[in-house]
């Protein structure tokens, strides 16, 4: 088979599936519409199987000047995107409320948008070109704007969708503006060519401007401070299954985009002479993001807002890993990918549970709505407790291993040269923030278990959601007890990614040296 086709086949399957959903969503037959989630799930599983095929038949070889490139890291990201995407479909598996009228049904649009968004992430995972990267980013984002608006018939949802759309569009514009500088500097949109150009040339102020703009644009996607203002309102406004998706997909897209962009220069960031500004920006943003996210979360009474601000704080921890990147055998990237997977699984579990609890036909959102949950629905409360303890980072859940890998990569990868004190400061800030986070996460557990008050909300639980929550809880615990099954592929993917990138850099440095010698 054509190598190029092998790379983009999963993406094509998802897009074709999305188009199919749009058509089937208008079907007159209500049974067809009821089965839309099942078909979506089948499409994702099919794409997942196709993704695994190169593992069986060997990796396709692609000449370096193409716009897409399949790295081991990209394949790993594709894999976790699809696996967690399947979990998201299960969480969002809800009966269509307007079964009689196809025109009022939104199931088709909802699942089509989800598939489009996932396919955008697959596109980013294979991007080797600024245009493809930008297309992927927009393909991830635009469907999420629609999903936020569609998800609830409530003014909050409309407000959230509009806010998310305008701010997202502005962030995209800033990012593209940064891309244009890179294109101007290198004369090409191919990432390999740009990387060579940057490493061969001398430091210019233009590069700083380009990287700063791109980082600002991408930081919007990961909700890093000070690009975080939309997060709480949007998370609160959207229905919980959509919020779960927002907590995962745009974050993964943003971080993978950052990895691709920063891999144009060398890791670890602060010890490199060229991108000192980039290192300072990322380090500063990481410190600000985790501290402010946690501080703001402490003040909330609404569960979804607590989780929204905590998602900001989690972005801060992941940015620490970004600072290390491929240094020390790719430990930074490996820990970032592990952390985001664990975070996504626990968050999806938590939002999945919240989406089941209803009060007056609306999702229950206040902490007080959870009172008495442990007595009425002990299994649900226990599942929520496991997810929340994982988000705190308690041992024997995946969250602890995530935090451990991030901090460990920070110290082992970063404790060199000028970066040593920065990494110690970040380490202390990180662990202290983990303790602060316990303050608000415990309030969620206390609301379920400790606080007095009768449980007055209704719980609507269907088998698919039960399966999704059970899977999320099981994975959270398994990742805490036997993390190796995810940590080891992540480490492998990241270490191969680093060699993949570093070899051309070393060659170009040699080239630059010889060129310099000839000049002399």
């Amino acid at each position: 088979m054509n190598d190029l086709l092998t790379i983009i086949l999963p993406m094509i399957i998802l897009i074709a599936g999305g188009l199919l959903m749009l058509m089937l969503g208008l079907a007159k037959n209500a049974t067809v519409r009821l089965n839309l989630p099942t078909i979506t799930l089948a499409v994702i599983v099919f794409a997942l199987l196709i993704t695994l095929c190169p593992y069986l038949f060997g990796c396709p070889k692609i000449s370096p000047d193409t716009s897409v490139k399949l790295t081991t890291l990209g394949r790993f990201v594709t894999f976790i995107t699809l696996a967690i995407g399947a979990l998201l479909v299960l969480v969002g598996f809800r009966p269509d409320r307007s079964q009689d009228d196809p025109e009022k049904s939104i199931a088709g649009e909802y699942f089509a948008m989800m598939l489009f968004s996932l396919s955008g992430m697959l596109m980013i995972a294979v991007a080797n070109n600024l245009i493809v990267l930008f297309l992927g980013m927009e393909l991830v984002s635009i469907p999420t704007y629609v999903m936020v608006g569609l998800s609830r018939r409530h003014d909050h949802a409309r407000e959230a969708a509009l806010k998310y759309f305008f701010l997202g569009a502005m962030a995209a514009a800033i990012m593209v503006y940064g891309f244009s500088f890179l294109y101007g500097l290198a004369g090409s949109t191919n990432l390999d060519v740009i990387s060579e150009a940057i490493n061969a040339g001398h430091f210019t102020g233009m590069q700083s401007i380009a990287f700063s703009l791109i980082i600002v644009g991408l930081c919007f996607k990961i909700a890093a401070v000070p690009m975080h203002f939309y997060a709480a309102d949007v998370y609160q406004g959207a229905a919980s299954p959509v919020t779960a998706l927002l907590a995962f997909l745009p974050k993964l897209a943003g971080f993978y985009g950052l990895i691709l962009i920063i891999s144009l220069i060398e890791w670890p960031l602060l010890s490199n002479k060229l991108p000192v500004t980039v290192g300072i920006i990322i380090g500063l943003l990481a410190a600000l993001t985790m501290t402010l996210g946690n501080a703001l979360a402490l003040m909330q009474k609404n569960v979804k807002r607590i989780l929204a601000y905590s998602s900001i704080a989690h972005s801060g921890y992941m940015m620490i890993a970004l600072l290390i990147g491929t240094a020390n055998n790719g430990s930074g990237i490996a820990s970032l990918l592990f952390y985001i997977s664990v975070y996504a699984i626990s968050t999806i579990g938590a939002f999945g549970i919240l989406s089941l609890i209803e009060r007056d036909g609306e999702e229950a959102q206040q902490l007080s709505d959870l009172n008495g949950l442990a007595k009425q629905h002990p299994a649900l409360a226990a599942a929520l407790a496991v997810c929340v303890f994982s988000l705190i980072g308690m041992p024997l859940t995946g969250g602890f291993i995530g935090k451990f890998t991030v901090f460990s990569s920070l110290v082992t990868g970063g404790a060199v040269g000028t970066m040593r004190y920065t990494s110690i400061v970040l380490l202390i800030m990180g662990v202290v923030n983990a303790a602060i986070a316990a303050g608000y996460y415990l309030r969620i557990i206390a609301a379920c278990y400790i606080d007095d008050g009768a449980f007055t909300a209704k719980v609507r639980i269907k088998p698919p959601q039960a399966i999704a929550i059970a899977l999320a809880v099981a994975l959270t615990i398994i990742l805490g007890v036997a993390p190796q099954f995810l940590a080891s592929p992540a480490a492998k993917a990241a270490s191969e990614f680093s060699t993949d990138i570093q070899i051309p850099i070393q060659q170009t440095i040699k080239k630059a040296d010889t060129a310099f010698a000839i000049n002399e």
Binding site: V431, A435, L442, I445, I450
Partner: protein, 533 residues
């Protein structure tokens, strides 16, 4: 077989906890009995462990080793083993857990499944701390114990349970995360020295740590362990948590969980950072002595019996820390024995108080008095454990208290290795012995003797669970093993010293390295216990 005993000590309670949540029965007593069976089975395994350990001879080496990969690329493995130090603490955990589960049969009225499941998880977590030979594993179990404890205190606690549980969790976690940072940092130091990333405790002992990093690492480890101990002034979470926790929670908290901190000092902080510990020993000793006196004085003025015992823990753990920082063999082994003794006698006191509380639903001195007439069996146990807590010669408390004071007294004047402490510390700390006699006897006198003063008996239990006026057979059987241990360890402490001495010696060799120029005569310190019976 012997390889799998230590993992089984963790797996049996964890699986038992899982089974309890799904066991199909509506009978709450059956759930309790099932939990007791699992916990007793685990205790049986610890006895088997003891037998195999003793069979292998006492030489201070780790035994019953078990190892498998956890995160190999980050240098961490699941590595279990026991030596003379952890042996006794594992035994203490194994003994106190079934007793505390047994004591909850009538006092827990709701949420039986989750309650017993959490107690079993707690048992697994505490055992894990003591048998871990990998620093990351140690920390994982150390932090994990907070989860079940938070829920036990928070759900089944007294009226102030919410602030108590929050304070307990946040204080210990805030200290713990700094220890976590220290653990990562020391592993990195070892990595940058040798090129291998490992969390193996025995390997990390030899890490050479630059002067500048020593104080930072000391403070990082100190933060986590001192809060857990708790050392003055980090003790403020303890009285509240102790008072609000259900009886089993208080027993486990006082009996075992506080020892996680002292064990951390003995196993990790002192051997890894001997030089800075030696320099800072006087500071720690002063904090310990303040803890002893302050805890005793606070205990004296309490009007709630449980709070009195809680403050007495602050004082007792001060002794424990003081002994460790004397930097000699008597101090270390006395401190270890003190951990065991405190677990036994304070745990037992909490059990007795819980039994009184179940009958009268009050712990106020003003509402209780002269109970010896009505509850003679209870009175006997209470006096025995109070005397053990005071340190009456012939009972276990005396041996440990005496060897700690002896160790501190002689610390600075030994020819071989001059310890950091000396006579003034011992003399001031000895006042704690008198103070403990005052508050403990005061408690016994007000509660047991004098004119009878009892509130109406609260007996809203179902007919089958009705409690007699005095302790029933179950309650006496719970206290009996602890009473026997109090006497045995008091009369014949040699069984303890003989089994721990080689392991203590190994720790001592690691920490007494400050003055290298003076050749140290280990034989004289090792035999320093000759005066013991």
């Amino acid at each position: 077989m012997s390889t799998y005993i230590l993992p089984l000590l963790i797996l049996i309670p964890v699986l038992g906890a899982g089974l309890i949540t799904i066991i199909p029965t509506k009978c709450n007593r059956c759930i309790g009995r099932f939990a007791l069976t699992i916990s007793t089975l685990t205790f049986g395994m610890t006895l088997l462990m003891l037998a195999i350990f003793l069979k292998g001879g006492i030489d201070g080496e780790y035994k019953l080793l078990f190892e498998c990969d956890f995160l190999p690329q980050l240098g961490s493995s699941i590595h279990f083993g026991i030596d003379g130090i952890s042996l006794w603490l594992v035994m203490l955990t194994g003994l106190l857990s079934p007793l505390s589960i047994w004591s909850s049969f009538t006092s827990i009225r709701q949420g039986h499944r989750s309650y017993y499941a959490l107690l079993l998880l707690l048992q697994a977590g505490m055992t894990g701390v003591f048998i871990s030979m990998d620093l990351l594993m140690f920390y994982m179990f150390f932090e994990f114990t907070l989860v079940p404890l938070f829920l036990v205190v928070g759900i089944w606690g007294g009226p102030q349970r919410r602030p108590a549980a929050f304070k307990l969790f946040i204080y210990t976690m805030a200290g713990g995360v700094l220890t976590f940072a220290g653990i990562i940092y020391i592993a990195w130091l070892h990595y940058s020295n040798t090129g291998t990333l490992t969390f193996d405790i025995a390997t990390l002992y030899g890490t050479s740590i630059p002067e500048s990093a020593q104080l930072m690492l000391f403070l990082a480890f100190f933060a986590g362990f001192a809060v857990k101990v708790p050392l003055f002034p980090f003790h403020t979470w303890l009285p509240l948590a102790h008072t609000e926790a259900p009886t089993a929670g208080s027993v486990i908290l006082a009996g075992v969980l506080l020892k996680l901190g002292t064990y951390g000092f003995m196993r990790i902080l002192l051997p890894m950072l001997p030089e800075i510990s030696y320099q800072l020993a006087p500071t720690v000793a002063v904090l310990s002595i303040i803890g002893i006196i302050y805890g005793s004085v606070c205990a004296w003025v309490q009007t709630d019996i449980k709070k009195l015992v809680a403050y007495s823990s602050v004082a007792h753990l001060g002794f424990c820390m003081l002994g460790m920082f004397a930097f000699n063999h008597e101090g270390l082994s006395g401190s270890l024995l003190y951990m065991i003794n405190h677990g036994i006698s304070t745990g037992a006191l909490f059990l007795v108080i819980g039994m009184v509380y179940e009958r009268y639903h009050t712990r106020e001195f003003s509402k209780l008095g002269g109970l010896a007439v009505k509850m003679p069996i209870m009175a006997v146990f209470m006096i025995l454990f109070s005397l053990s807590s005071i340190g009456l010669p012939g009972l276990n408390g005396f041996v440990s208290e005496f060897s700690i004071l002896y160790a501190v007294f002689t610390s600075g004047s030994e020819a071989a290795f001059a310890g950091p402490l000396g006579k003034p510390y011992a003399i001031i700390a000895a006042s704690g012995v008198i103070l403990s006699a005052i508050y403990m006897l005061y408690m016994c006198q007000r509660l047991l003797f004098g004119p009878l003063n009892e509130p109406p008996v609260h007996d809203d239990l179902p007919e089958a669970d009705k409690l007699p006026v005095d302790l029933n057979c179950r309650e006496s059987m719970i206290l009996m093993p602890l009473a026997i241990l109090v006497v045995v360890l008091g009369v014949y402490p040699k069984i303890f010293f003989a089994s721990t001495s080689p392991a203590i010696q190994k720790i001592q060799d690691k920490i007494c390295v400050v003055q290298d120029e003076k050749p140290k005569d280990t034989a004289s310190t090792a035999n320093g216990m000759k005066w013991m019976p």
